[in-house]
């Protein structure tokens, strides 16, 4: 990280404090996320799915962008969270907030168990392991159709109104408010994590995993921790999807979902939390608009967009913008 060496040669704590200060741009960004309520009331369901995808992308960014764990199977945790939240509701407890936390805890627990395997491998092997785990979970859910409903999906999810008052409406007001609130809270947590000394250690692992033990840092413990946290957040995103739509199908665990979230991250820019949100928004809005125009071949345009972004702005859209901004201020 070039800015680390440039800004804080002596005082790491001070640098971290500066990083965690809120810039006006960030405040504007979050206020802008409230705009759909007033200007695009008919797009609220899309907005809520964007918020959920953004949360999922943040969870992947924490491990991929910050800790350098390449994954192609993170939908596993998204799906586990979704099925957990769905099943809790099917078996009679439809209270959303506790369901959300239980689902996240379950996904986090599985993430913790898996993390013992994850920290042992790197690079290509890591991609294969995550991919394999994702596919295994998918097949497991498929074969356990007595529990998951198999290819038909899990039915009978009834999410109670939030605080026994805000019912999930057709327009998506509740769904978007709820998803946005969850996104914001998880974002705050993630922001705190990446701007802590723990976050700094993660970047160290990403940059050079062999050097970390040399400077007295236990990288395996760090990786396990962040992987567990990331799994819990992914599970929370999945639970949000289950609760706001009242349906879960195998698609929640699919490879496509794991791949899409990586595409979102690459579009938005890895290693920055806002990149995850921007990438999710661009991906889903582009998908919505393009598939409305051409339902058959819209993925062509997504592919083109991805190639252009990667060629022109290798660090994603936000990375490209911040490079532009720093060149501007440097002049």
């Amino acid at each position: 990280m070039s800015d680390v060496t440039a800004n804080a040669p002596f005082d790491a704590q001070g640098w971290l404090r500066r990083q965690s200060r809120w810039s006006p741009l960030e405040v504007v960004f979050w206020l802008a996320l409230l705009l759909p309520f007033f200007f695009f009331p008919t797009y609220l369901t899309l907005a809520s799915q964007i918020a959920i995808a953004a949360l999922f992308a943040i969870s992947v960014d924490l491990i991929l962008g910050y800790a350098g764990i390449v994954t192609l199977g993170h939908a596993m945790f998204f799906g586990l969270g979704a099925y957990a939240a769905g099943l809790i509701s099917v078996y009679g407890w439809g209270e959303p907030l506790s369901g959300l936390l239980l689902a996240a805890a379950f996904a986090g627990l599985v993430g913790f168990v898996v993390s013992f395997m994850i920290v042992r491998v790197q690079h290509l092997a890591l991609i294969m392991i995550t991919l394999g785990l994702g596919l295994l979970t998918y097949e497991l859910a498929n074969s356990m159709s007595w529990l998951t409903g198999g290819t038909d999906g899990l039915r009978g999810i009834r999410t109670w109104p939030i605080f026994n008052y805000f019912r999930f409406d057709l327009w998506g007001y509740t769904a978007y408010s709820y998803s946005l609130a969850a996104l914001f809270v998880c974002f705050l947590v993630s922001r705190r994590i990446v701007n802590s000394s723990f976050g700094l250690a993660l970047r160290g692992v990403r940059e050079n995993v062999r050097r970390m033990p040399a400077i007295g840092s236990d990288y395996r413990g760090h990786l396990q921790k962040i992987y567990t946290i990331s799994a819990a957040i992914a599970g929370l995103a999945g639970a949000l999807m289950a609760q706001t739509t009242n349906v879960v199908a195998l698609d929640a665990l699919s490879f496509q979902r794991s791949a899409d979230v990586v595409v979102m991250l690459i579009l938005g820019g890895t290693g920055r939390l806002y990149g995850a949100i921007v990438g999710a928004a661009i991906f889903l809005i582009a998908r919505d608009q393009l598939s409305g125009v051409n339902p058959q071949y819209w993925y062509f345009w997504i592919g083109l967009l991805l190639m252009v972004v990667v060629l022109v702005m290798p660090k994603g859209i936000l990375g490209g913008l911040s490079a532009l901004a720093s060149r501007w201020s440097g002049r």
């Binding site: 008919t42 797009y43 369901t45 290819t151 057709l170 598939s291 339902p295 819209w298």
Partner: protein, 392 residues
């Protein structure tokens, strides 16, 4: 407070839109299908059925112009289908939801149709429970138990088979098929010697077929998804010497639909299938339909998806005629209940209680006709209802 005000504004906007829609005298139909991804072919065939009906009958019914809005789910994604349905209702102001090639899509959209009180025409998704998910759902395709329960009964009663073995793909539709065939067969008095499930993706059938051979049943019932698998299982059966007439081979119609027949070749001869639509059925309505369809689609022949879309549009057109253009969900679903008509597939109707399709089930045998293998109807079971409705 803010939320309520915003909701009221939005509702006002929505009402204003639906008002505008009436003023323009259009009825909007939102079609939700997996136009992209692995099920795109099914979606395109279904869409071609819709297009053919509209090309034939014009885009005006009861003084209203019909407008189709297509939305892509990309596959069996209920959350996407639900969002698309919501958006179609609140943003595009559609009056009718239609399409739904896959069960998860229909399950995702069902709550929207219920809450928004819009007619939802399921043109393919074939799991029994679909129509129970909303009182506004009507189905114009088929259900797997409808085909296979009566098939199982027929196998014992008419074909005189006493023992059978089932071999199905290990996923939802396969499980349904296995269950309903076995149920029909054993209730009639037959005995299932054994049941095996094959992996959905790239299975090697030889080991499974060998197990069937070892059990030596009078008949084997097979359910595999379309694509490359019919040819693969046809070859595996032939290699192991499992062939009619020594061992009867039973299956659902997809196994021997025209394109699969081409790839299976001689191994398909004598296979007996159950289906609701038979391409070669000798009927003037069907001939006209097949000719029109083939001409409009570069020689591609209609299949089960096409007929679901075609009859789905027929239902919408006739319901609109009956309500004199009133596109409200309640009026349309009332008009649809009990509706009966002659389709290219044969006589069909909508069960007034379950809103599900009631139709003739055709038992066909692959035979050589004019030097070509095709499905020849050997038995018809009229007015078959889905046997599972009300049972669960």
């Amino acid at each position: 407070m803010l939320k309520n005000a915003a909701a009221a504004t939005a509702l006002g906007l929505g009402l204003a839109w639906s008002g505008a829609a009436i003023a323009q005298e259009t009825v909007k139909i939102g079609v939700i299908l997996p136009y992209s991804g692995p099920f795109a072919d099914a979606a395109n065939q279904l869409q071609a059925g819709i297009d053919l009906y509209m090309a034939k009958h014009g885009d005006e019914v009861a003084g209203k112009k019909i407008e189709i809005i297509k939305r892509d789910t990309g596959g069996p994604a209920p959350d996407v289908a639900q969002r698309l349905a919501q958006e179609l209702v609140v943003r595009d102001g559609v009056d009718i939801l239609a399409g739904f090639a896959l069960t998860p899509e229909a399950l995702g959209a069902a709550p929207v149709s219920q809450e928004a009180q819009k007619l939802m025409v399921v043109m393919n998704a074939a799991t029994s429970i679909v129509t129970e998910q909303s009182p506004y759902i009507v189905r114009t395709s088929v259900t797997i138990p409808q085909l296979n329960y009566s098939f199982g009964k027929w196998a014992f009663d008419e074909a005189g088979i006493k023992q059978a073995y089932t071999l199905v793909s290990d996923y939802g539709p396969g499980h349904d098929a296995e269950k309903s065939f076995s149920q029909g067969f054993t209730e009639a008095g037959g005995e299932i010697l054994g049941s095996d499930r094959t992996p959905v993706a790239n299975p090697d059938f030889s080991a499974f077929v060998q197990r069937v051979r070892d059990a030596n049943p009078e008949a084997v019932y097979i359910f595999v998804p379309g694509g490359a698998q019919p040819a693969a299982i046809g070859k595996a059966l032939a290699d192991r010497g499992l062939a009619p007439p020594e061992t009867k081979i039973f299956a659902q119609g997809e196994l021997t639909h025209p394109e699969a027949l081409e790839s299976m070749g001689e191994t398909a001869r004598g296979i007996i299938t159950t289906f609701h639509y038979t391409l070669e059925r000798d009927d003037p309505l069907n001939k006209e339909y097949v000719e029109g369809y083939t001409a409009a689609n570069n020689g591609r022949k209609p299949d089960l998806f096409s007929i679901g879309g075609y009859d789905g549009m027929h239902l919408i057109y006739e319901a609109l005629k009956a309500t004199d253009g009133d596109a409200s969900g309640d009026a349309l679903v009332e008009a649809a209940k009990g509706m009966a008509w002659e389709s290219p597939r044969g006589p069909m109707s909508i069960d007034p209680e379950t809103r599900d399709v009631v139709q003739t089930v055709y038992i066909r045998e692959v035979q050589e006709v004019d030097g070509e293998l095709q499905n020849v109807i050997i038995h018809e079971i009229p007015e078959v209802k889905d046997p599972l409705h009300g049972a669960n």
